[in-house]
Amino acid sequence: MSAVTSPAFRDNARAALGDRQLQRALAEVPRGLAARRSAARADLPEFEALREAGRAIKDHTLAHLDLYLEAFEKKARAAGSQVHFAPTAEDARAIVRDICRQAGARVVTKGKSMISEEIGLNQALEADGIEVVETDLGEYLIQIRGETPSHIIAPAIHLTQDQVEADFRRLHTGLPADRQLAEPAQLVAEARQVLRGRFLAADVGITGANFMIAETGSTVIVTNEGNGDLTQSLPRVHVVLASIEKMVPTLEDVDTLIRLLARSATGQEISTYTTFSTGPRRAGDPDGPEACHIVILDNGRSELLGGPFREVLRCIRCGACMNHCPVYGAIGGHAYGWVYPGPIGSVLTPALIGVRQARHLPNASTFCGRCEEVCPMKIPLPGLMRHWREAEFDARATPLLYRLGLAAWAAAARRPRLYHALARLLMPALGALGRRRGAFRRLPLLGGWTRHRDLAAPQGRTFQALWADTRAGVPR
């Protein structure tokens, strides 16, 4: 599994807040992806109806997932694919390594796949002496920098153009030193030129899947660069990595979900390439792989099916939740410390790596609700984060000082007479202390607040005390 730094979330966040390059990159997110989604949504009057339809498709599929997985397997085998079920990340890695060994693979090209990140596939293949080449531009950028994705659809969203240019000049040494790279198009052209040779050299191509279709045994990828098509059609062997919840019953269902996916992700009506793959090359096909393997990963997901977190399995990985999250917008994806950042990660990560390691993630939300508002699959993300907080509280894993504070406050709040008596004593005193300035610059126990902002002083007596006076005829 890929490395976990979620326990150090606070430190990660602090470092991210102090990283000026990162902050420059993050400042573009609201003006980019979020604004484009908003425009696309406004252009489609039936968007809300589509969300309902999408939710219904996924809910239905999840309720009968065992049946659809079996149906898919049957159809995929009939089309000539080999289907492998991987209960864990380790199993998935072993399956792909075996496929590559049997193919005698020396070079493996990859389309973008979050499942590959989840199972830590690249390191495993590299340990076997295989050259692994990421062909999605964003994935390529982070691969050459030795980083991990910071976003599920825009893996290099944390980088600025200047950083990319510097990396290209450093790594692509065979090219003229005085070449122009100031324009995005020039960077893309250079990446294409470098990658073209690797596409042709690859023995195995690995892609993810946005959908698996039970009706036809097909898998679907949605891309904007065309790299996925070259990855899956040029090498001798094509490997698809997909997790169980990517299943949908029919082609028509994919049609509904794709209309939601592209709009929610990038604001496009449809992605540049939407590619359906059904088995290897048939007799008479002009191209395509000789063999096609579909590796279906569980890795803890089936355990979510029967519980309160089932709804998270509706996710179609559009990334809209992170594009609209104020916390993600402030700290970026790496601070979350594992593969899936942002609100969806704050719900999914504790399920996949354990709430002890990931306890900060569901806590680090303001519950502003924007993620749920934009989620095309209507996943109640804040509610599910609250479920994790409840699990943590019930397991007595909430930090002790916080628990004690909460218990003391609740004990008072549950006794209105005591509560109001205490408030009548405390607030006027605090109010008198802060009366002249109107605010405190520092207060004991509230350092978290006053480190960055002043705390307004109370006006003085409580409303309840003043109200009692006015009822008794005493003027305010």
């Binding site: 104020p326 402030a330 502003c368 907080r389 019930d394 008072a412 709040a413 549950r414 109107g438 307004a456």
Partner: protein
């Protein structure tokens, strides 16, 4: 507008849910709410057996305490036609989350559902339920309005405050860029993750400054104290008030976080 036989009475009896922050920090908001409700033809009562809506417990995973506070609050307001809170966050808790919290409790399920149905956020109650179209207030200022998250997304409070603010004499209302983006308060989030909270509120105060407003308004005291605290730490001279204070002309007290001479 669905009107029950009871609420059709000339003067519906409104229970004011004061909210703990208003009770403790800014009673003037409570009095502003009372004044506005009375102007809208309501009889206002303030039950003494209310404290906090329980959101800090609920959002910290402590359902037992949240349930206890939910029962306490429901019991305190059973005699009222409406329950009105000068906060979208607390009203959202009462209206949407209490029924969920008490759903598995047969003794309280129906009481919670009946209670939830009569809960409203103050300004949306005035406009949507009481049909208030204008207020008799005056304040020469260039004001901007921040949409607090819960009121906006849970209760649909958006146009109502703007509608009434436009009737305040002398007040120029300018739109805030990204008005619907969180201010970074998030209740206990602001003290659990202060650095992240700070980064979010810094973006908010940048936008407030860019609006060139000299008065920032919102409908939730938590958000207001967060934004006022940041503006004051940054040395920006922008007054901050709860929208109810302006609508009610309840302006004798200095703005949030400002001292008395």
């Amino acid at each position: 507008m669905p009107v029950s036989a009871k609420s059709a009475a000339a003067r519906p009896r409104v229970g004011l849910f004061v909210t703990c922050l208003v009770d403790l920090f800014r009673p003037s908001v409570g009095f502003a709410a009372v004044r506005l409700l009375e102007q809208a033809g309501c009889e206002v009562d303030v039950p003494a057996r209310q404290t906090c809506c329980g959101q800090p417990a609920y959002n910290s995973g402590d359902r037992a305490s949240a349930r206890a506070l939910a029962r306490q609050t429901v019991a305190a307001f059973e005699a009222h036609d409406y329950v009105v809170a000068p906060s979208g966050s607390c009203a959202g808790m009462l209206r949407l989350h209490y029924p969920e919290l008490l759903a598995s409790d047969p003794a309280w399920r129906e009481r919670a559902a009946a209670f939830a149905g009569k809960v409203h956020e103050l300004v949306s109650f005035l406009v949507d339920v009481r049909g208030l179209a204008a207020v008799a207030a005056r304040l020469p200022a260039r004001a901007t309005y921040h949409d607090s998250c819960s009121g906006l997304r849970e209760l649909g409070v958006r146009d109502q405050p703007r509608k009434l603010l436009r009737t305040v004499e002398g007040l120029e209302l300018v739109e805030l860029a990204d008005a619907d983006v969180c201010c970074g308060f998030g209740g206990t989030f602001s003290v659990k993750y202060p650095d992240i909270s700070n980064a979010i509120v810094e973006r908010k105060t940048e936008q407030v400054a860019a609006s060139k407003a000299d008065l920032l308004l919102a409908g939730d005291l938590g958000c207001l104290m967060n934004m006022a605290g940041k503006l004051s730490r940054q040395g920006r001279r922008i007054a901050v008030r709860h929208v109810a204070e302006v609508l009610a002309g309840e302006l004798a007290d200095p703005p949030i976080g400002e001292g008395r001479p």
